[in-house]
Subunit: 406 residues, 2 copies
C-alpha cells in the first residue's frame, strides 16, 4: 500500500513510519516540522538526541534498503500543495498525526489558543476537503484522544465512540439513536479533537469518505523494534512542562534525583498505551478499513488506566525516588474514575505491553542514560488554565524559585 | 447599554442595530462588509436598493438624532484589532451575527468550503479568546441555526438545546446527564454552527463567559418598525440561488410570473420567524442574561414550521402563481417532520407575527414593488451537495437552459 503519514516526523508518527515501511508499505511522510520549531520557540529539546528527518530517513535506507519519502508541506496552510500531492500520489491510506498536540501549550496564551485552533481545524478540514476534491479514495486514520470524552464523572465505562441514547418521541414512545459520545473537552487542544470528530462525521455522511478515528490514551515508551536498529533512528522524548506527559516527567525527575511532582491529589485517572502497541494498533486499523458509506469507525486506543499518584508510586519504587504534592494548574476534578472499553483492538489481536513490564527499560535505557542532557529549568509545569489560577508553579517543592519555563 | 453588533451590516444585523438604537442603547456595528463583497463575487444584488452602511447610519441619525457607530473590522482575521477595540470600549453586550451564513454558498466549491470553515470558526474563536484576554465581562449573544439539530428523524420534539440522556453506570444503575442535543449538520455552513456550540460550551465552562446561543429558524420579511422610517433604511432582500431563502425565492418567482420551484417532494419541514420577531427576540435575550458560571443559555428562535410544498401553496394562493417540482440538489431526507419547542421566548413575552398575516405585505410592498430589479438568471439553485449530485438545475421547469448562476 502507498501510505501518507501526516506528522510523520513526530513522536508517534516517526515509529509508525518505520513500522509500516518495515512491513513493506510505500511510506511518504508529510510534515511541516512545526514541532521542531516549537522546540526552538520554547527553548527545549528532546532528551534523546534527535537527528533531522532527512538524516533519519537516510539511515533507515542504509540499514534496511527501504526508502521513506519526506515532503515538507504545511497541511493547515498549503491547501493547494496538499491537493496537488494527493492528485499525483493517490495514496491508499493516510494516517493523520499532524496537529498541535499539547494541552498545556494550547493554554499558554491567547496566541497559542488561536494557533492550536487554526492549525488543527484547518489541518483536518483541508485534508477532508482535498480528499473529496481530488477523488482520492484513501482510508483516513486520524489520531484523536481519550480527552474528547472529558473523563465522564457519572461512573460509566467509556464506550468506543458512540453512545445509544433513548429519545422520547411525540407519541410517548422511546426511540433509540446512536450518537457520538457527548464531548466535554478539558483544554483548547482537546476541544480541537472534538471539532475534528464533527468534521469526520459530516464528511463520512455527505461524501462517503472512509474514516477511522483512534481515541488514544497517553503514549509512553521510547523504543520500538525499528528505532532500536540504529542510535540515530531513536525517537523523541519530551519532558518539558508543555509536551512532557506525566510519566515522562516522573522518569526524568527520578533520573536526576528530583522529587516526583504530583499536581493536586494525584487522583486523576489517565489511560495509557506503549508506543510499540500504538504503532501496532495503526497496523491493525489499516487492515480493518470501513466501507464507503459507513459511519466513522472509532476505536479506543489504550491498554491500561492508572491514577497519577499510583503512577508516581510505581516510578518511585522502580527508580527509588520521592513524591511531592503541588497545586493543580488545570481546571479539572481532583479525583476521577476512568474505565475504558478497548475490546475492538483486543479482538483484532493486540497483546499489550504493560507498564510493569516496560517501565524498567525506560528508567535505565532512556532516562538514566540521557540524564546528562536534562535541563532542570524545564521540569515545572508552566501554563495555567484560567486567569484565576496562578501560573506560579515555577518553584520546586521546597519553594525555591526555578528559572521561568516560558 | 453599550452593545457591539458584529455583522451589523447584514440582513438580521441591520434591523437589530436600529431596534436597539431606538431603545436607547449605544450601538456599535462591527462588520468587514464581506457580504457585500460576496454580492460582487456572485454578481448578484439585493432586490431592495441598499445603501452603504455609512449612508444608512447617517440617515438614521438624521431621522432620529441617534448615532450608530460603524467599525470596519474583520473579526476572523484581525484578532489584535478586535482585542484593542474590546479593551478600549468594554461593551456590556455583544450580538454576534458575523459569519458566512448560506448553506449553498458553503457547498459551492472546495474554496468556499474552506472559506466558510475558516471565517466562521475563527470569527467565533477570536471573539471568545479576546473576551477572556481583555477581561471583558460582556453578555455574548450568538446567532446559531435550527440546522444544528439536523432535523431529527426520530419524531421527537426538538428541545431548546439540551437533551437529558440516561447513561448506564458500571454498577448497573442509570445516571442522567444533560448533553448538547446531538449534532447532525446538513452542510458545511451548518457544521460550523455545531463547531461554534462546542467553543461556547468550553469557554463558558473554563472561563465563566456569559453566553446565549439562539438557534434561529429561517428569517422572513423585510420591514421592521425602524426600516420603514425612511426608504434608504430599507433592509436587504436576497433571492439568488445561494443566499435567497426558500420563501424569498417563491416570492420573487411569483412576482415575475415564474412557477414556484420546489426541490424534491417539498416534504422538507422548515422553521420560520419574521424579522420583526427576530429583533424582538434579541431584545428579550439581552434582558435575560446568564450569570458567570452558568452553562450556555440556548433558545430556539422560531415561531412556526411549514413544509416547503405548503409554503409554496400559500404563496401561490396569495400571489396567484403555479408550482413546479425539480430534483433536489441537497443530500437530505425527502420528507421530515419538525416540531420545535420555543417556550422560553413565548414566556418572555414574544407575540409572533404569522406567515398568514405578514405575507401579503411581502408580496405587494417588496416583491411586486421591486420586481423590475429582478435578475432572472439568478433564480435557479446552483450548488450541488456532493460530486454524485449533478449541479444541473440551471434549467427552468420546461427544460430550457437558463444563464448559469455561478
Ligand atoms: N503523544 C501522545 O501521548 C498522544 C496521545 C493521544 C493522542 N495523540 C495524538 O497523536 C498525534 C501525534 O502525536 P505526537 O505525540 O506524535 O505529536 P508530535 O507533536 O510529536 O507530532 C506531530 C507532528 O505533526 C506535525 N504537524 C503539526 N501541524 C502540522 C501541519 N499543519 N502540517 C504538517 N505537519 C504538522 C509536527 O511537526 C509533528 O512532527 C497527535 O494528533 C496527537 O494529538 C498523541
Ligand atoms: N437569515 C436567516 O434566515 C438566518 C437563519 C438562521 C440563522 N441566521 C444567522 O444569523 C446571522 C446573521 O444572518 P444574516 O442573514 O443577517 O446574514 P448576512 O450575511 O446578511 O449578515 C452577516 C454579516 O456578517 C458580516 N461578516 C461575516 N463575516 C465577518 C467577519 N469575519 N468579520 C466581520 N463581519 C463579518 C457580513 O459582512 C454581513 O454583514 C448569521 O450568523 C446566520 O447564520 C440567519
Amino acid at each position: 500500500m502507498k501510505i501518507a503519514i501526516l506528522g510523520g516526523d513526530g513522536f508517534v508518527g516517526w515509529p509508525t513510519s518505520l513500522h509500516l515501511s518495515q512491513l513493506g508499505h510505500d511510506v511518504h511522510i508529510i510534515d511541516n516540522l512545526s514541532r521542531r520549531w516549537i522546540d526552538t520557540e520554547l527553548g527545549v529539546q528532546s532528551l534523546t538526541p534527535m537527528d533531522s528527518i532527512q538524516e533519519r530517513t537516510r539511515i533507515w535506507h542504509e540499514e534496511t534498503g527501504r526508502r521513506i519519502h519526506f515532503h515538507l508541506i504545511d497541511i493547515a496552510r498549503d491547501y493547494d500543495v496538499l491537493k496537488n500531492w494527493l492528485t499525483e500520489n493517490q495514496p491508499d491510506a493516510i494516517v493523520h498525526f499532524a496537529e498541535q498536540r499539547a494541552a498545556p501549550y494550547s493554554m499558554k496564551s491567547d496566541r497559542h489558543k488561536n494557533y492550536t485552533v487554526n492549525n488543527n481545524v484547518n489541518a483536518t478540514h483541508n485534508l477532508l476537503n482535498a480528499l473529496v476534491e481530488t477523488d482520492t479514495d484513501a482510508h483516513l486514520i486520524h489520531l484523536g484522544t481519550m480527552g474528547v470524552y472529558g473523563y465522564s464523572t457519572v461512573g460509566a465505562a467509556i464506550p468506543e465512540g458512540y453512545l445509544p441514547v433513548g429519545i422520547e418521541t411525540m407519541d410517548g414512545a422511546t426511540a433509540t439513536q446512536e450518537i457520538l459520545y457527548p464531548a466535554n473537552p478539558g483544554s483548547i487542544y482537546h476541544m480541537t479533537k472534538c471539532l475534528d470528530q464533527l468534521l469526520f462525521q459530516f464528511y463520512a455522511k455527505n461524501d462517503g469518505l472512509r474514516i477511522t478515528d483512534l481515541h488514544q490514551g497517553i503514549v509512553w515508551g521510547t523504543h520500538t523494534d525499528q528505532t532500536r536498529r540504529h542510535p540515530q533512528l531513536i525517537n523523541r522524548f519530551d519532558y518539558d512542562g508543555d509536551y512532557g506527559t506525566v510519566l515522562n516527567r516522573f522518569l526524568i525527575q527520578a533520573a536526576i534525583g528530583y522529587p516526583l511532582t504530583v499536581h493536586g491529589t494525584g487522583g486523576q485517572t489517565r489511560a495509557f498505551i506503549h508506543i510499540q502497541d500504538s504503532v501496532r494498533c495503526i497496523e491493525l486499523a489499516l487492515k480493518s478499513a470501513p466501507e464507503r458509506g459507513d459511519k466513522v469507525k472509532i476505536f479506543n486506543q489504550m491498554t491500561e488506566t492508572h491514577r497519577v499518584r499510583d503512577l508516581a508510586e510505581i516510578v518511585a519504587r522502580i527508580a527509588d525516588a520521592k513524591i511531592a504534592y503541588l497545586p493543580n494548574p488545570r481546571k479539572e476534578a481532583a479525583e476521577n474514575d476512568l474505565v475504558v472499553k478497548n475490546d475492538q483492538f483486543l479482538q483484532l489481536g493486540l497483546n499489550p505491553i504493560t507498564l510493569e513490564e516496560g517501565l524498567l527499560e525506560e528508567v535505565v535505557d532512556v532516562a538514566k542514560k540521557f540524564a546528562y542532557r536534562v535541563d532542570r529549568s524545564r521540569i515545572p509545569a508552566a501554563s495555567a488554565w484560567t486567569k484565576d489560577i496562578k501560573p506560579t508553579l515555577n518553584t520546586d517543592p521546597e519553594g525555591k524559585a526555578l528559572k521561568s519555563a516560558s
